[in-house]
């Protein structure tokens, strides 16, 4: 059922299993225990960062499939995206997995773009078992979007640290597990920020627009969720988003409104304003958040993955940064949402 910009899934779309994998820097963070796999080598034994990123996604997908108890051949569709040019990570992982595949690009919002579409396919009856995933790699992202990893350019405090990791989930039409109840599709919003070292500020208005629309479409109040997480706004973007939401009358109880980008690393890790990258929201959601839901600590969660839709070319040509955010609501196991 469609309400405004929000899909309400009338038929079951259940997360049968999910997985999160990370690199050495993520292993030092507070959420290390929520990762299924942590690699102690940034290269993952590969000879390029791009191949390492592909391996991260493959590992996340294979782990999620294994945890779901479904055989890989029984997975009907694979929806994935990433940050690298021509989304090679996803397409190459799809080559390995050999599952019918649709490639997505939503920059760092890809995790929830994929989850929303997987839920749509399953709920609408066009599939019974869909795999969705995304990955990012610090070295590969730096190489493509910024400078060589060993180049000595000083970064400003608003810069963010791309997560090395991947997350994947298996969405099924029947069974046990957290249920995807609704998804709000974002609009592309550009408030004129052009500094690629301040993505949090660029993306905050997109997150605010999607959150506001989600609450309006479903006529919810801020207390209806136990946790509302944005994808990778970081310190700067999160404080702007909080201020803008407060202005719109959406005031969340303390501890409810958070940001995945502020959860992955400890305060003393040198990540500037926080984490970013496709894996930021994917690792936190498919690892930490779903684990807490399975343990019964969280009942209703809204994940708002935020993406900056720029390219290295577009910002060199002085274009501003268009941004998007997609929200997916997940409700814990048995409890009915409607």
């Amino acid at each position: 059922m469609l309400k405004g910009r929000t899909w309400i899934f009338d038929h079951e779309a259940i997360i049968a299993a999910s997985s999160a994998v990370g690199g050495p820097f993520e292993a030092q963070g507070p959420l290390a225990g929520d990762f299924d796999l942590l690699f102690d080598d940034l290269w993952l034994g590969q000879d390029s960062f791009e191949k390492a990123e592909k391996k991260l996604l493959e590992q996340a997908c294979q782990t999620a499939i294994r945890k779901s108890g479904i055989r890989q051949e029984e997975i009907q569709f694979f929806l994935a995206g990433d940050l690298l040019n021509q989304i090679i990570t996803s397409s190459f992982a799809a080559r390995t997995l050999s599952i019918p595949y649709l490639g997505l690009f939503g920059a760092c919002s890809t995790s929830m773009e994929g989850l929303a579409l997987a839920a749509l396919m399953v709920s609408a009856g066009f599939a019974d078992r869909v795999l969705t995933g995304t990955a990012s790699h610090n070295g590969a992202a730096e190489k493509q979007f910024r400078y060589p990893t060993e180049y000595g350019a000083q970064k400003p405090p608003t810069a963010q640290w791309t997560v090395t990791g991947a997350g994947a989930a298996v969405v099924v039409s029947s069974g046990k597990g957290p249920r995807i109840t609704s998804a709000t599709i974002g609009r592309v919003i550009d408030k004129g920020i052009s500094d690629p070292f301040n993505m949090g500020a660029a993306m905050a208005p997109a997150a605010v627009d999607t959150i506001k629309t989600h609450f309006q479409d479903l006529q919810l109040s801020p207390t209806d969720y136990d946790l509302v997480l944005t994808g990778d706004l970081g310190k700067v973007g999160h404080s702007i988003a909080t201020e803008l939401l407060t202005k719109q009358g959406l005031i969340f109880p303390p501890g409810v409104f958070g940001d995945c980008g502020l959860m992955i690393y400890r305060d003393d890790q040198p990540v500037f304003a926080g984490a970013s990258g496709c894996a930021s929201s994917a690792c936190v959601t498919y690892g930490h958040v779903l684990n807490r839901m399975l343990q019964g600590e969280l009942k209703r969660v809204l994940i708002v993955a935020t993406g900056a839709l720029l390219s290295p070319l577009s910002y060199q040509q002085k274009e501003t940064i268009p941004c998007i955010a997609h929200a997916v609501a997940i409700h814990a196991g048995e409890e009915s949402s409607r």
């Binding site: 960062f49 060589p148 060993e150 000595g152 350019a153 000083q154 400003p156 408030k191 201020e243 501003t320």
Partner: protein, 155 residues
């Protein structure tokens, strides 16, 4: 800015600027001064070393000194230490010849995965190229000005 900004965008820019912690300019300047100064001091020591122990004069000791600094900078880049020092030292490590060496070495290492010809060779001067282009051009302009002034009877 390529695009004219709407009023809404300008308002948001103001809000974003307010929330931007900004670069710690004074701290960066002091650290750059100390780091840059330390590199210069090191250069002076190396230069004195070459003059003292080898057959170099003050005039030509610069060549082996620069070569030594480039070697050290490239070594630190290869060991993955230079970028960490640079985050702390800022302009202090970018401006001296060490920064130039770092720009070339880091690009070469980064693109090793694309092979020696298209990768290392093709990308080595990706960052340093514009320094060479505008350095040579600036030298040409200054030399032209000098020639004109001398031609007009200056000394």
């Amino acid at each position: 800015m390529a695009n004219a900004k709407t009023k809404d965008q300008q308002q948001y820019q103001n809000l974003a600027n307010k929330r931007d912690p900004g670069r710690p300019a004074l701290k960066n300047c002091i650290l750059a001064f100390l780091a840059g100064g330390t590199i210069c001091l090191l250069g002076q020591l190396i230069s004195t070393f070459y003059m003292h122990f080898f057959d170099f004069t003050e005039k030509n000791a610069g060549d082996p000194t620069v070569a030594t600094l480039i070697f050290l900078s490239s070594l630190l880049t290869g060991l993955g230490l230079y970028d960490h020092i640079a985050q702390w030292a800022g302009a202090g490590t970018i401006i001296p010849v060490t920064g130039f060496a770092n720009a070339i070495t880091s690009s070469a290492i980064e693109h090793r995965s694309e092979g020696f010809v298209l990768g290392v060779g093709g990308n080595m001067f990706k960052l340093a190229g514009s320094v060479i282009v505008f350095g040579v051009f600036a030298a040409f302009v200054i030399a032209t000005i000098k020639v004109i002034i001398m031609g007009l009877g200056g000394s």
